[in-house]
Symmetry: C2
Subunit: 409 residues, 2 copies
């Protein structure tokens, strides 16, 4: 057998790194609202502009007092509910204010006595023991200190980061604009919805193929590369001029082009005919015809028409290039994982514990981190571990809900 | 300290199973197109209605011949490209037809001679060696045999299943309708987009809270429970009458109601005031106020107002109940996992291999399965393992892209 055209000089998959220097990275930066930021790539380190909480904050429903006056008797002079801003209330000696969880303590108070722990007598409360400074209180700056880096440049913002940033009053960040991609799915045999399902089924039995490769590629991008926008997805026949016209248009409009189908050994070979050169075929199975060329800084990918082969090409070749273009250092994840916990955790109750994940030769390790209670944005954290009632021993396997990609440390 | 109201008799988390018999499972079944089925729960086993391919199918570009006449000389009488249906072409003795990958072979042919392996002489080809029956051919029924169960009742359809079913011409299936949920996020302290981000930030420093708990709950549902539809998400203040009115309306319209916030020990305690009874508080940390009651077969969940506490409640209490209501046996997943491979895989090329996953005391194990080339729908498979160039040894750690939930075997 003479070698097939695309097999003459297949590239090892690591060769994809060679084309990165020719590819334009995204440089456009936008200021966006944090609640719209999930999936976006951080363009400038997100730094806390203030301490949070700005004042001592009640961690319990009860009475705000000055700890140095406990035990003692206090007159209740007001109420501050969570969400209220009452800097007008100032406690003098012997005074207390009722506060609910999350409320800022009034000036003059530094501790909360739980409501169950006082004896109420008319407008007075009796506190029968000593409460230390910041008892039942989150001190100023305990969630986040001004100047701390919360998200590093290159991190993909996750829904957990959104929660953590909003929690401490950070509402904007700078993000790179998304990478814009056009997908061309080629093949005379393709049919695509909307179409009557029964008709579609009959057509498959007569040799037609219902388009699903392009859809699977788009699904993988949406799921694992939220920083990439599939702007257009077009199905064409196998006429090369038609394919070329779409590719030319996509190269004008978008940052990258993905072609699926028509990559086989037969006469239909769009990637080859486009004449862009590049890396033609990789030593991978399935997916040998996977190809990539760079045209004016923009990558053009050729993928197999078969779903699993195309997926393999996306994972090995497309994803590393698009991640590079998007300036991603820390990609997102979203699933449950099994991991080995690195320390004992005690407790009779079912718990959830924030963890850092590390990949070793023996698999995934979950390292518990001491987290500020309300905030998810711990720069090192990448998941929450489920601890069963009764706790776990170091070395036990636990389930971890992750929000960063475990593929990179 | 006297116990807080909701702490008087916290339930162990496993007690949530006790309420399941009171909950109405979804019984409505719809016939839907497979391309719309991702995330839906299969209501009747999906059984292959026909063999696929229906005829021998070319696995290679080349010449369709009758194997018993090889080696030999053949006259080329026609061409069949993938997607064409040419049952009119019938090969007589000594005849061949040119075919492309994926094309059905004409009657009279049972093997494909690769185009590189023939010598062409005008309208004749010379084949100089023996080709066996079904050489370079996918025989009828080799992807799927009529009568085989491809997806079992209770399986959540994944994008991989969609690809696999369409590939063999299965275009409809019966699915349960989605579970419909309404979310009520309560709290006088809440502010929510659309709002000017800088104003929002100032308000947080004055004690307000930007709504993110309800959004995180909705994100978890969308990501891990695609068979659940969040039909409405409403933010209310803390006035109990307002909350009650929304809950009453949601109970009329939807299958389940989730309330977040107002579940603390203070006077604001909507779940308690609603008077539905049920399981009030669980032995879990954070998230002790998590509660559930069943009203006319519909669950009403009470969650903490804090994001991480609410999330813990969703994972431990809400998800098992909604999964039960939705008739789910096999939930979906979507991420990369590390797993121990259970057998050697050889090969110089980078490979992707379908695997079954099993959870053992030492973590996740990936068991390679012999898969029909094009189809993803292997009833046992739940992922594809990335095999590096050079192969792996049994016991090595590999990355697996999973599409089923690893939490259940």
């Amino acid at each position: 057998m003479k070698p097939m055209r695309y097999l003459s000089g297949l590239n090892p998959v690591y060769k994809v790194a060679d084309i990165l220097p020719q590819v334009n990275k995204i440089e456009d930066v936008e200021k966006i609202a944090v609640w719209d930021a999930a999936g976006r790539v951080v363009a400038r380190d997100v730094i806390a502009p203030h301490d949070y909480p700005p004042y001592p904050r009640a961690a319990y429903d009860g009475y705000a007092v000055n700890s140095s006056a406990t035990p003692g008797k206090f007159r209740v002079v007001g109420t501050i509910l969570v969400g209220q801003y009452r800097r007008d209330i100032v406690l003098n000696s012997g005074e207390a204010a009722y506060v609910t969880v999350g409320a800022f303590l009034p000036e003059g108070a530094d501790a909360v006595v739980p409501e169950e722990a006082v004896k109420r007598e008319g407008e007075y409360i009796l506190v029968d023991r000593k409460f230390e400074k910041y008892a039942n209180v989150d001190p100023p700056g305990s969630y986040v200190r001004k100047g701390v880096v919360l998200l590093k440049q290159g991190t993909v913002v996750t829904p957990f980061d959104v929660v953590g940033l909003l929690d401490v009053g950070i509402t904007t960040l700078y993000a790179y604009r998304r990478v814009r991609v056009g997908i061309v799915t080629t093949g005379d045999e393709l049919i695509a919805p909307p179409i009557d399902p029964d008709t579609a089924s009959e057509l498959v039995l007569r040799g037609k193929v219902i388009e699903s490769t392009g859809s699977l590629v788009a699904w993988y991008i949406q799921t694992f590369m939220p920083y990439v926008e599939v702007r257009e997805k077009i199905i064409t026949g196998d006429r090369h001029e038609e394919v070329r016209a779409v590719v030319d248009r996509f190269l004008k409009l978008y940052d990258a082009v993905i072609i699926t189908g028509g990559a086989g050994p037969s006469e239909i070979d769009h990637f080859y005919k486009l004449g862009f050169g590049g890396l033609r075929g990789f030593r991978m199975k399935p997916g040998r015809p996977t190809s990539v060329a760079v045209v004016g800084g923009k990558p053009v990918f050729g993928l197999s028409g078969y779903p699993i082969s195309a997926l393999h090409g996306v994972i090995r070749i497309v994803e590393p290039v698009l991640r590079y273009m998007a300036n991603v250092n820390k990609a997102p994840g979203h699933d449950w994982h099994y991991a080995v916990i690195t320390q004992d955790i005690q407790g009779e109750m079912a718990q959830i514990v924030r963890v850092k994940l590390e990949v070793t030769e023996s698999g995934l390790h979950a390292i518990p981190i001491k987290a500020r209670h309300h905030s998810f944005t711990e720069p090192d954290a990448c998941g929450v571990a489920l601890i069963p009632p009764g706790g776990v021993k170091r070395g036990d396997i636990v389930l971890v809900l992750t929000y960063r990609d475990i593929r990179r440390g």
